[in-house]
């Protein structure tokens, strides 16, 4: 184990470590804490220049205000409408592509696989003009499904990479044995491979959920109005209206950050497994 376990050092060093940990964390998360605090500060405090002192009271009304006076609730619903279909779509598609690429050794296999990998790293900007144009032509501009459809397509690249590597790591003898028994390919996929994929599916879903929820670029390119803009784009336009009303900006930010953070804490194990497994393999 590197570095040397702290339990083996002197008691003094152990004390320093235990104290240093929370302090380091505090500094690291300081900007976030500051914003969280500001979001609960009454507007009058800010007007009087009391930015960092004790707040004169806890102002839940900031949150009430953004919910009642701005369409932030609608934005969040829109985000869900984009995110959930994308997670389902991308994960189920990539299950099949991943299975095909991992199990069948057809000639273009490697080529197709690398196409998916490369597509994953392409800068969004090169896709922007044609995708926007296509979405317009199909009459899906400014709708949740137009945005979700693109996300499904793009995320499938990453998910396929992930799924393929995962299926490759499964014992191939299982599939061989089933084939000898005369089980059809479709049933092999459904009854043998799929149950083994559960951890991968969970990890990918969490990951894709965060990616899509946090997406800002495509949200600005493909949507426009309150009816379809997800929270990231919505927050950005609200920010334009709330110039220097930092208590509102902060409350909005915290709200937008909440779902992925909650997701992360609920599915922590899967999340980190996803980030590292998909990548390091």
């Amino acid at each position: 184990m590197f570095p040397r376990p702290i339990q083996k050092s002197s008691t003094a060093a152990q004390w320093v470590y235990t104290i240093a940990l929370p302090i380091a964390l505090l500094i690291w998360l300081f900007p976030l804490l500051g914003v969280a605090l500001t979001s609960l500060r009454p507007a009058s405090d800010l007007a009087q220049g009391n930015y960092f002192g004790m707040p004169s009271g806890i102002a839940w009304e900031n949150y009430v205000y953004i919910f009642t006076e701005t369409p932030i609730g609608q934005y969040m619903v829109n985000s869900l409408w984009v995110t959930i279909p994308t997670v389902i779509g991308a994960v189920s598609l990539s299950l099949m592509t991943g299975f095909a690429l991992a199990v069948y050794g057809f000639r273009a296999n490697i080529l197709v696989f690398f196409m998916f990998v490369a597509g994953n790293f392409v800068p969004f900007q090169i896709l922007m003009v044609p995708v926007r144009d296509m979405t317009l032509q199909l009459g899906m501009y400014d709708t949740w499904y137009g945005l979700a459809l693109f996300h499904i397509a793009f995320q499938t690249g990453f998910c396929t990479l992930f799924m393929r590597n995962f299926i490759k790591a499964l014992p191939f003898e299982l599939i061989e044995a089933a084939r000898v028994e005369g089980v059809s390919e479709w049933r092999i996929f459904w009854y043998i491979v799929l149950p083994l994929m559960r951890p991968a599916i969970a990890a990918l879903s969490v990951l894709v959920f965060t990616f899509i929820w946090n997406d800002f670029f495509w949200a600005t390119v493909l949507t426009q109005g309150v009816d379809s803009q997800p929270i990231t784009a919505g927050l950005s336009s609200l920010n334009g209206q709330w110039i220097a009303q930092w208590h509102l900006v902060s409350a909005g930010s915290i709200l937008a950050a909440l779902p992925p953070v909650a997701m992360f804490f609920l599915m922590q194990k899967h999340f980190i497994a996803g980030l590292t497994l998909g990548a390091v393999k």
């Binding site: 702290i6 470590y17 003009v129 992925p260």
Partner: protein
């Protein structure tokens, strides 16, 4: 589907970059673009805004690499088994989970003139506050610092898992030979962290070149366009207030794509080799 939304648009974009097009069709649905050959590219060569963006992209690339040593440092710091360390690790990872929009807003608040913490800090140290987002010379560094925050968290997680997989017997053996501290890190641990480092470099490069959200949220490319990066400049040209110069925007995107392609092919090449070895 992937083909329709990803592969086909790339080809279309490249073609489009040879045209001068305002994004409209005439009423019969015909394409209205005018072929200008390399015109867009030669215009780019003399465009000062393009040059600024390119330089800024370079700054992003170089400074983003700081995420690697810092991430490694934090990972080593946290790689202990004390009570509650799991919670600490997750909390350190926090910034990566948050949307870049939110990160941008948080840092904008942090840098805000007159009351932002950073402003107060510089005021106390130098006697005069610096409003970093309004200063053309410093603004890019300010945004990069904001971008580094989540990026360090990401790199840290990669290294933490990497450190878990370092072979303990090798460490013990080196320790018996008297290796310590830096030498241990450099000669024994880092070589074993190679896969983690590789991934970290890749995600950092991509992160640096994709930096759009933060620029858009924090400064809109300003002041005076001094914080533009290629990805943002492209967006501005094609959809922004300067009208719809789709062809010109596509040309910028192609340049960005070519830069990225250098790294992508390096990555693919390495994966290809790994596949063959199996």
């Amino acid at each position: 589907m992937f083909g329709v939304y990803v592969l086909w648009p790339i080809i279309q974009s490249v073609t489009l970059s040879f045209y001068d097009w305002d994004g409209l069709y005439n009423k019969d649905g015909e394409f209205m673009g005018r072929f200008v050959g390399m015109g867009n590219y030669s215009e780019l060569m003399t465009d000062p805004a393009f040059e600024t963006s390119l330089w800024n992209n370079l700054k992003w690339l170089v400074l983003y690499m700081l995420a690697l040593p810092i991430g490694l440092f934090i990972a080593i710091f946290l790689n202990q088994t004390v009570r509650g360390i799991r919670l600490y690790k997750s909390l350190f990872f926090f910034p990566f989970v948050i949307s870049q929009v939110v990160v941008g807003l948080i840092f904008a608040w942090f840098y805000a003139p007159n009351f932002g913490l950073f402003y107060l800090l510089t005021e106390n140290v130098f006697g005069q506050g610096t409003a970093i987002l309004a200063d053309p010379d410093l603004v890019t560094y300010g945004i990069i610092a904001a971008g580094l925050w989540p990026q360090i968290a990401y790199v840290m997680i990669l290294y933490l898992t990497g450190l878990n997989n370092v072979a303990p017997d090798q460490i013990e053996a080196a320790r018996l030979d008297g290796a310590k501290g830096w030498r241990m890190l450099w000669y024994v641990v880092l070589p074993q962290l190679r896969p983690a480092t590789f991934i970290a470099v890749i995600v950092t490069v991509i992160g640096a070149l994709r930096s759009f959200d933060l620029v858009s949220i924090m400064t809109n490319g300003g002041p005076f366009g001094s914080s533009r990066v290629l990805s943002y400049y492209m967006f501005e040209m094609a959809l922004g207030e300067y009208g719809f110069r789709m062809g010109y925007g596509a040309a910028i995107a192609v340049v960005l794509f070519l830069i990225m392609m250098v790294f992508i092919s390096g990555f693919i090449w390495k994966m290809w080799r790994d596949e063959k070895e199996r």
